[in-house]
């Protein structure tokens, strides 16, 4: 093992973790309201509004059709505007968040749609406001499924950071391409992949653990 490998890995890993965390938070900030709106405005739901639903659905689909690497290029001006540069991890968070928010919105939409409409009607029949029904019934009832969905999104975002690394975002993907691929450093390539595998495993285990804890509380057998 070369002497420079460990420091390189540590820096790259911290950049990746930073990008994944920050873009997940930002993607949630965009995707959660979007996913909730997609559900509650759908036909027969809490606040049916098919016009808005169609528009949002189309916007989500448009963003989801972009290959991620193209989206980064398209959003370069926005990164420059918001962060001041198009290079580095923070600049990459802009396309990462915007690219994964629609994906996250669909995942959240699917989770929330699984909630039995009867429960929502029960809450409305008690005189609960729409917003109360969303926060106190819809989201808590979907929580285990939401956690699983967000876990999936975190892993997808981790993959996206590697793509972003190819065009200047830093992180493990960048390390693998610059050192492993371009300089024929097989040791770097191999080590990067191992670190990524471990990282994804940990996220998946963590997500499963939380979802399982929630489920066993709610759906314990007789």
């Amino acid at each position: 093992m070369a002497d420079d490998l460990l420091p390189l890995l540590i820096v790259a890993l911290s950049e990746t973790v930073y990008m994944v965390l920050l873009s997940t938070i930002m993607a949630l900030a965009l995707g959660l309201p979007l996913g909730i709106t997609l559900v509650v405005t759908s036909k027969g739901h809490i606040s049916e509004f098919s016009g808005l639903n169609n528009v949002l659905g189309t916007v989500v689909n448009i963003f989801r059709s972009f290959p991620f690497i193209i989206l980064i290029v398209v959003l370069l001006p926005l990164s420059r505007f918001l962060v001041g540069t198009t290079l580095g991890s923070t600049a990459a968070v802009v396309p990462l968040a915007i690219g994964s928010a629609p994906f996250l919105a669909r995942i959240i939409e699917n989770s929330l749609k699984e909630v039995d409409k009867g429960k929502i009607e029960a809450a409305l029949a008690m005189g609960a406001k729409s917003i109360t029904t969303i926060w106190k019934v819809l989201i808590p009832e979907a929580l285990p499924s939401l956690v699983r969905g967000i876990t999936l999104a975190v892993i997808t975002i981790t993959g996206f950071t590697a793509t972003a690394g190819a065009i200047g975002a830093g992180g493990l993907g960048s390390l693998a391409i610059r050192f492993g691929y371009m300089r024929y450093r097989d040791d770097v390539l191999f080590a990067t992949v191992i670190v990524l595998v471990i990282m994804v495993q940990l996220v998946q285990w963590g997500g499963n653990f939380i979802a399982h804890r929630l489920e066993s509380k709610h759906h314990i057998g007789m």
Binding site: K119, A125, M126
Partner: protein, 254 residues
Amino acid sequence: MITITGLSKSFQTPYGKVDALKNINLEIKQGDIFGVIGFSGAGKSTLIRCLNRLEEPDSGIIRIGEHEITSLNKSQLREVRKRIGMIFQHFNLFDSKTVFGNVAFPLEVAGLSKRQIKNRVEQLLELVELTDKTNAYPAQLSGGQKQRVGIARALANNPEVLLSDEATSALDPKTTYAILELLRNINRKLNLTIVLITHEMDVLRRICNNVAVIEDGEITEMGPVQELFLNPRTDTTRLFVQSDQDLQLNNYSI
């Protein structure tokens, strides 16, 4: 207490327009246990759901107490809904909340303080005899226990009316009787008006005073329950009474 005048409701389906309710007129007295019976698809579920406007009527006037339900705006409707309890065939409990949390929910919605909520939930769980399940989750309860939680939740804000949408249809006979017994006790204790829809004659015979038979969106017969059993006037009613008697004969022959 409840008056329904000229209530109609239709649904648009892929196969055309379906008239679920056609010009329904109905009066239900304070403290009555009023049954609505009919076959599947007769419109009884739509009828009860129109009473708290879970289903929006196309036309007609519904009055409950001093409120004209059909002319309320959204926020007025929310206020009135707090005083109309509803229980469901599939209970519709919140799985993520404990029994306490489920019964507390309508009280939180009504804006009561934590202390008031705690006291009220204790009272209600005593009423439905579930004090030992306060911290259980719905998944840990039997069907009968779940419906007791549903009843406690529906009674939380001292409603004037309790709507029961096939509340015993998912329960076994023994549990059904226990739940009906509970409803009758509550009706007597609180002088609560109960409107219940069912497809089981047994439910009518056990607790209802008055009944309406609904068929193809129309009320075909209405009156005291004994009257219905003694002098069924329409084919549907005869069919219900007949099947009920067959059932009883079977029971005796076992």
